[in-house]
Symmetry: C2
Subunit: 217 residues, 2 copies
Amino acid sequence: MIAAPPKPPQFDSHFHQCFEQLLLWRRDVRHFRRDPVDEGLIERLVAMACLAPSVGNSQPWRFVRVTEADRRVAVRANFAACNSEALHDYHGERARLYASLKLAGLDDAPEHLAVFCDHGAATGHGLGSRTMPETKNFSVVAAVYTLWLAARVHGLGVGWVSILDPEQVRVILDVPQDWSLVAYLCIGKPVEESDEPELVRLGWQEREAFENVLFRR
Amino acid sequence: MIAAPPKPPQFDSHFHQCFEQLLLWRRDVRHFRRDPVDEGLIERLVAMACLAPSVGNSQPWRFVRVTEADRRVAVRANFAACNSEALHDYHGERARLYASLKLAGLDDAPEHLAVFCDHGAATGHGLGSRTMPETKNFSVVAAVYTLWLAARVHGLGVGWVSILDPEQVRVILDVPQDWSLVAYLCIGKPVEESDEPELVRLGWQEREAFENVLFRR
């Protein structure tokens, strides 16, 4: 007997609404509860992330679960140094506001996940990345964002920390030289939920008006 | 009377399953039906894309709906030239396979959407992009992928064309010099649905084994 081919899903109006709620309530989380993440859930989220699109199906994403205390301490120190340098770029009220922001949940988040792009991988055979080599990194971003949405679906928050020296983080985590850091993620249960970005609530940056982002040619 | 604050959504196991189906059946589509996209749907998808995360809440995404025939013809010609050059990188069986692939739906897709990163925007005030300036482009990738998933939810397929000269496309579309092309999207109803990438089905690149993408430190 031949198995019937799988049937494409039809997404109804209830799913439309829930999906929009997911986008609206996904947040960049910096305030985490310390409760551990359920056993096996990180692996499941990474498996879902691997369903992301990638240029030439190259799948250049490499996920590194950071559990060793000394490596976490070194990443935390790198963040502190980069954040301190960044503060020098601001002056007056903007500097005061920057200094007041909590920009990473590195201390409390139970899970740290570093995500790299493997530029040495032969997968994909170069298809689609000849004129736009940055699409390799872009593929990894799609995987990161898939994991982010999947985490929120499963009740977890994700915070993307970019105030880091990417090459230093690569050295701290002892991964190959042709891997470049795309994202360092904090993952765990969020202290609170919100449908408004923290940087909007705290007066750093409002949402952009729609007429400033859509054009026609 | 004070309005109650909105309640965070709870995603049940049915949503979990549907969301995973969405990831499984999202495809990079190159075969489109020519039926027009419903009036207003592109605007709605762009509005959902604007819910993507962005570094410092900078929202540097700029969407350009390409409807003018002469501009579409020029983009099509740029693709043909880049694709022809790319073919020279392959030899033997791999070259034959490359030449047989349909790598863009530019002729049939009813909607073309070019997505740029505005590197001149002051929004976000530089937060988070000092040590990793590429996170501006990464924010735009998150918006592109949000739109892609939202399109699939609404029964549309998206194909990301990267076999283009990004600076030439910028000139063809006459947008500011500090905008860089992140993605050129074809959007429309797909000819067929599948839960398997076309590049897997046609023997270009298999899915990567899980043990090659998840590590621990």
